[in-house]
Amino acid sequence: MIEVSHVSRTFGTFRAVNDISFSIPTGEIVGLLGPNGAGKTTTMRMITGFLAATSGSIKIDGKDITADPVEAKQKIGYMPEAAPLYSDMIVDDYLRYVSQVQGVDPEEKVPHLCNICGLKEVMHKNISELSRGYRQRVGLAHALMNDPEILILDEPTSGLDPNQIGEVRNLIKEIGKTRTVIISTHILGEVEMLCNRVIIISQGKLAADSPTAQLRERYGHSLVLQITAGGCTSDELNAALKGIDGTDGVTAATAEQIPGEAKIASAIVSVKGTAEIRPAVFKLMVNHGWTLYELTPQRNSLEDVFRTLTTGENTPAEQKENAAVEASK
């Protein structure tokens, strides 16, 4: 559906996007992830035709975005970051304007979108008076006006309060069922929740491209355990844990003091692949006579993945893993 082929974009001497390629089939919900300034927005702007690629090509459903811009753009619904709309217009008028540009019947479309996007209360308000959340919703209505096959949203939940974020995410889940969607974000949890594929961009380059479920396995640790034990020192705990088969790294953590316990230690253990080390940990505790207070799997390793890929800091284990993944490609 969307073919991005060796695309680069230079602004003067600055290479914002450096030889990025990916292909998105119909119906996929893709999370475009990356630190601020990585090139996500620039990439989106090129896909939607707002900027021309300095080199490379972009095809939307077979139509080249620079050769057939109008036809290609008709398939896309796009909302830039912070939903820049015409502030001096009333929501109703604005949506009618968009419907006219898109060549669709306003009488049919505007009430329909008003319902889907929850805009009933603000239809007669001036866009400049709307809160951030409502602006984003108007932006979403704008993007959906022509019922596009492809929906591209640049940070759709940024600046929203938790309630609004939830609503927008539900909305995206719903409308994503029948469309191809690209969302750019730097909220990892959002990606996990909404997207079935993740593309990570860092410093203009493609850092990762994988199905969400496999992201950890491919680029990081699948599981991280937080272990708190009583009756031992931090060093003793770390040393003992390192000895377990299947651990990939042990780092000390701060332990909460527990009344009645003199010595308390906490550690975070990264687990290799899909190894299940919890029974071994339990037995370890028993053998040493330590009290096991906490054995919690932590699923925040997605942050590790993100950090690793975007700052270039790899642990030796990860470097080996990456090499193996590269070799097997």
């Binding site: 939607t48 811009p69 109008v70 753009k73 830039p80 820049p84 968009v98 540009v101």
Partner: protein, 228 residues
Amino acid sequence: MKRELAAYFTSPVAYIVTGLFLIFSGFMFFATFFISKRAELRNFFAMLPVMLSFFIPALTMRLFSEEKRSGSIETLMTLPVTDFEAVLGKFLAAFITSAAMLVPTLAYVITAAAFGSPDAGPIIGGYIGALFLCAAFSAIGLFASSITKNQIIAFFIAFAVCILLSLISMFLVVLPAPVVGFLSYFLADTHFTSISRGIIDTRDLLYFVSLTALFFGLTVKAEQNDRR
């Protein structure tokens, strides 16, 4: 066509504000009328280029500048609209609004008719010329707006170009004769004066049309360049 209308749609909303200008222009126009003591609109038309040099850039200054500043240009250009259509829509908005600004001046025609019997020819010619002038100045103002994010700068650039075209004749006295001949072709002033006398010379119309087309084309080019 729908798209042009739609792109045009965005401007009138903002032009409610510029209704204020209509009031100003009304006062200014009227002031000169009674001084001439003749039942004609010649002075009015003579002053028109200068007046429009100020008011039309004021109308056009926000057309592209505001969009670039607020980021709504991105929302606009990712809709299935070509650069040409977007420019056309905004141009039509500026042109029609400036033409509308002239409509109340028909009151002067009525006033003149009440006081005497003015010739219809120069008046009709004058208004036709005025429309062409509006078109040309709108195109100039639009271009100025497309090259900067700052509305004030857009205004001054447009104002400078328009006023230059209108007033060069005043500065010409200091230039040698052959140059004068060459330059007077470029003057809106010269062309306009002849139209206001009721003479519709195709050369004059051509002048205005080519001026309009030139700046319109430059605006489209400027927008396309922004993509690169």
